[in-house]
Symmetry: C2
Subunit: 393 residues, 2 copies
Amino acid sequence: MSIARKIKAAGAQSSMIRKMFEEGAILKKKFGADKVYDFSLGNPNVEPPEKFRQELQKLAQEIIANKHGYMPNAGYMETRQFIADKINKMQGLKLAGDHVIMSCGAGGALNVIFKALLDPQDEVIVPVPFFMEYNAYVDNYGGVLRKAKTRDDFSLDVAAIAAAVNDKTKAVLINSPNNPTGKVYSTRNITDLARMLDKKSNELQKTIYLVSDEPYSEIVYDNVKVPNIFTVYKNSIIAYSYSKTLSLPGERIGYIAVNPEIEEASELLNALILCTRISGFVNAPALMQRIIARLQDVKVDVDVYKRKRDLLCSGLGKAGYKFEKPQGAFYLFVQSPIADDVAFVQSLLKKNILVVPGSAFGSPGYFRIAYCVDDAAIVNSIAGFAEAIKECQ
Amino acid sequence: MSIARKIKAAGAQSSMIRKMFEEGAILKKKFGADKVYDFSLGNPNVEPPEKFRQELQKLAQEIIANKHGYMPNAGYMETRQFIADKINKMQGLKLAGDHVIMSCGAGGALNVIFKALLDPQDEVIVPVPFFMEYNAYVDNYGGVLRKAKTRDDFSLDVAAIAAAVNDKTKAVLINSPNNPTGKVYSTRNITDLARMLDKKSNELQKTIYLVSDEPYSEIVYDNVKVPNIFTVYKNSIIAYSYSKTLSLPGERIGYIAVNPEIEEASELLNALILCTRISGFVNAPALMQRIIARLQDVKVDVDVYKRKRDLLCSGLGKAGYKFEKPQGAFYLFVQSPIADDVAFVQSLLKKNILVVPGSAFGSPGYFRIAYCVDDAAIVNSIAGFAEAIKECQ
C-alpha cells in the first residue's frame, strides 16, 4: 500500500470513534431513528434564521457580474469591511477590512493560521479538554500540541499554561465558549492569561500569539459576556465561523480576524492570504460571502438552545449526574459515574444513547453530550441516563 | 517576526507576479479598465448556464431539513452517486458513489490527494510547463516536484517522464486540457504513459499513482476527445472542478474520483476522507453539492471560448507570433519573440497588455494569455501585440 504513513496511522487511531458512530447507525436501523438518542455530533438542529433564507432567495435572483467568480484570495472587500465594522461596533476597536480574511469555516481558518505561523516543532498550548481536531490542525504543519490542565470549573489555569510555555511556544489556542465544556472564560481570566503571555514574551524575547477559536461566541446564555481577546492582548488572532451563529456548518463560511495592533501586521496578513491560496482553499465560498454582508444582527434563536440546556441539566441533575452548567455553546461535559468513561459510554449505548467519551477531548472520566437535538430526544433519553447511573451504584 | 520561515520565503518569491498585478491595477486606474487588456488570470468571463441560475433559485426556496448542515465528510451520497453515474455513462466504467469524494474545487482535491499519498521526500513528476500552484500543493506535504520536459507540441514526452522515475516517485501529475498550453493529450499519448508506468511499477515493486487534474475536461474544441485515464491506468485518481464547466470558480466545488480498480481502494478512500476532514476543508459547500446533483448535461457555452480562441490566434498569427493552437481550456502559450520572457512581458505592459511570463510555469521563452475575457479586449489588444513584436525586430 502506498498512502502516507502518517495518514495510515491517523486512520487507525480514529477508528474507535468511527466504530461508535457505526454502532449508532446499526442501532438506528434496528430500533428506528426516533428510539436512538444521538448526542454525538455538534450538527445544529435549529434551522438558519428566516432572514438568511430571504437573502439567499433574493441573491439567487439577482444578476451580478462575476457573481460566482474568483475574487481576491482574502475575500470580497465589502464583506471584510462589514465584518470589521461589526467587530468595531461591538468592541470599540479599529479594524479595517484588511484585518479580516474570509475562510472556509473555523476549521479552514485555524489551518491557515497554523500554516502561516508554525515552523516544525513549534508548540501550541491548549487547555484541556479541547476539540479533538486541534491535534490534526497543529500536526498538519509539523507543530506539537502541548496540553495544559484547566481548573475544576474548566476556567483557564493560567499557572498551568505558564508552566507549559518554553522557547518553542508559538501560540496559545483557546476556545470560548468551549467545546466540550460550554465554559465561557471571564474577562478576569482572559486578562490574567494576557498578562502572563506579555511577561513570558518579554522574558523569552519572542512573540507568543493568542489564537481564539470562536465559533460559539454568539451562542451564550444568561447574559454572559464573551470578552474580546483583541482588547486584552496585542498579538491575538480570532478564528470565527458562521456554522453555529447561522446554522450553516455545511456551507463552510467563516473568517480570520487579526488584531490591528499585532506586530508586523502586514507581513502576517500577507502570509495568511498566501496560505489561504496555497492550501487549496483559494477563497471562501463566494455566494456565502455575499450573503454574510447582508445579515446585520442576525443569528439563530439562542433561547431554543437554552431551553434544551435547561431540560438536559434538570433531567441529568435529578438522575444524580455531576457537571458544570454550560454558559454557552451546546455541549454538556458530564462526570462519568465510573472512572472508565469509554466503558460508561458503552453502557449508555445499551440504552440507545450516543455520547462521546471525555478521552476523545483529552479528559478521561467525563463524557460529552451535544444537545443541539430535538427536545424530544432529550426528554425521552433521561430514563436511559438514569438507569445507566443506577447500574453503576 | 514570528511567521513560519517557509511561508516568509514563499511570500518573498511570489512577490514578482503580485507586483505585476499591482502594476496592472495602477494602469487600470490611470487609463481606465477598458483601455487595459488583462489576460493575466483564468477567471471565466462567461456567466454560469441559465439552468444553474434556475436551480439555485428553486433550491433557495425549498424547505429541506438540515439543508445547510453537516453531511458526511465525503459529501452527500446523492451527489456522489450522480457524479459516478455520469462518469460511468461517458466512459463505460463502474464507479460507485463511494469512489467519488466531494471537494472544495480541484485545488482542494489535489491538496487532499497529496496529503493522503505523500511521505516526506516523495516525488511527484509533472510535465513542464505546468500550473504554478502545483509547487505548493506538493511542497505542503513535504513532497518534491520533479519536472519532465514535454515535446515541442506540448504532448507528453514519455521517455522524459520515465527518466524522472526513481524509487522516490509516488505519482505523476498531468493536466489535460493543459494550463498553460491548451494541449489535450491523445489516447495514444496517455496509453504510452500508462504502459511505461506499469513497467516502472513492476520494476520498482511499488505503486506509482497517476493523478489527473481535469478542471478543463469539458472545455474542448473541434471535437477533440479527452481520454479518461481510468480506462488506461489502474492506479489513477481524478481531481475535478466545476469552476470552469459551470463558471463557478469562487464557489469552490469539485470532486476527487478514484479508479474502482485501484489497489486497496477502501484504505485510500478512507485516507482521502480523513484528509478532507483534518485539513480543515471538513466538507465541500453543501448548497453547491445539492445543485450539482440537479444539473444533468449542463455546461457553459464552449463555442464562446472557441470564438475567442480563433480571434486571438488569427490576430496574433498575422502579427507574426508563434504558438500551438490550443485544443482546450482558455489559455494560449506563445513563444516570446525574445529569449527573456519577463522582459517581453514588461514591453507588453507598456502597451497596457497584461500576460504572465512562461517562467512562472517553468518554461522561460514563452508567455501565457488567458483569453477568457471580452471579445473587445482581444480585438483591441492585437495592435499592441503587433507593435511589441515589431519593436523586437
